[in-house]
């Protein structure tokens, strides 16, 4: 297992290294002629008004929130899924209960209108 993890680590480094080195090479090959207008932010030819980092709506945050909760359930459900063939029907029902408690949260968000895109 240690070897598998070592390979994964090496692979991740290389997967980031190859694009990185390609960008460096392209930067060396390409011309470099910066100009103030060229470097300005692109907003369809109109000059930027106000701060760039304006506020955005909380809607996005709510999707991320529901996602977080469903992501955390993986910690519990994946080990259960591995043990699926080795456990009895009661363990399966427990996991189904687990899923349905979480689905209750989704139902609440639905009823509350939090899933509606406004």
């Amino acid at each position: 297992m240690q070897n598998d993890l070592l390979y994964i680590g090496i692979f991740m480094l290389i997967a980031l290294f190859i694009p990185g080195i390609a960008i460096v090479i392209a930067g060396v090959l390409g011309p470099k002629r910066p100009a103030p207008i060229k470097n300005a932010a692109y907003e369809c030819g109109i000059e930027t008004v106000g701060e760039t980092w304006v506020q955005f709506k909380a809607q996005y945050y709510i999707y991320a929130l529901i996602f977080l909760v469903f992501d955390v359930e993986t910690i519990f459900l994946y080990p259960w899924a591995i043990a699926y063939n080795a456990v009895g029907i009661w363990a399966v029902l427990e996991a189904v209960l687990f899923i349905f408690i979480l689905a209750g949260g989704l139902g609440y968000a639905w009823r509350k209108g939090a899933l509606e895109w406004q």
Binding site: L5, P34, Y42, F56, Y63, Y84, A103
Partner: protein
Amino acid sequence: MNSFLTDPIGFLILWFYSVLRGWNLPEDLVVLIAFVVGAFTLATLSLLLVVFLIWVERKIGGRVQDRLGPNRVGPFGLIQPVADMLKIFTKEFITPDGADKVAYNLGPILAVGAVIMIWAVVPFGITLYGSNLNVGILYIIAVGGIGTLGIIMAGWGSNNKFALLGAFRAVAQLLSYEVPMVVSLLIPVMFAGSMGLNEIVRAQTVPFIVLAPIAALIFFISSIAENGRAPFDLLEAESEIVAGFNVEYSGLKFGFFFVGDFLHAFTIALLFSVLFLGGWNGPGADSMPILGFVYLMIKTSLMYFLGLLIRFTLPRFRIDQMLALNWKLLVPLSLVTVSLTAIVDKLAMNNIWVRVIVLLLVNLIIWLSLQEIMERVYRSRPPRRTVNYPRLKPEADEPVVQPETPAA
């Protein structure tokens, strides 16, 4: 020599190990060198594959839409992507003023690196895999999260409203569709009793798509959405938010987002074949590993072609439709499917054919009740509000005004 014919790649790997050992290096160093060389080869091959994939995609896309596709450079336009690559390598990088340099430059690297990283755990054949990680499926999900991070860094780093808005949209979509994907991937893990992709392939004496067609469908849809392709290409909706999170990029940095996109399209086909179509399983694959590789490639090409057909025929969703499809249909459906499959499969006898029939029945029931529910929801909806646009046709009692004909 026989071993070379049935399993050329495995033979080469063993030969490489024996060469390294011949140099009297310590064993740890041999393993390390072999790993670095292997990882480097695989990653490079995956990137080189993109050059070919771009040609395939443009050619098929052209044919689907009744065009010719690339046909000028080389036979059938085969050299076109090479020419494009040379061009993009020599283009200028324009870094916008006020960009956050680190985030701006890391964005494309993470976006393409995250796709390549998936390849580390894919089993291409019985003997041919990078790593038999025991948590392979979770690794794939985790790597998807790194890609999301790359997009948010790109959007934030470019110091542009459109880019940031695009990144927000993109991240909302990627996060949302990860939920049904994670839930539906529980089913292969459940059946195989392991998260290692090798074990999952080995467990598929009957491909899992037969046992769990709905889960396979959910996985397919959500991975298309993760890829951000039509009909889910809201992340780069040119007509709505100029180009999305990548407006401010140029040259190869811009190109890398698309390299990642093309490679991801192939990778999801590969993953789908591994997880649901039986991977390298097939007649004679046990004795001749190279046959397994061929089977896997055939399955992958089929799924890839299907993905291309979808991409080139369907129009784009609106953002509210995209989110509603996920949260109001796919997520509940995946939860119900997983629960029912788990219960029924536990109750079914261990005979494989009984399981197939029972699970197919369950999936059919889920599908039919889904149709019924959607029908009812559709009927119970209030009729669409009609907007009174200015009429083009005049009312009956209005005098008809003839448009003036310009003087000749």
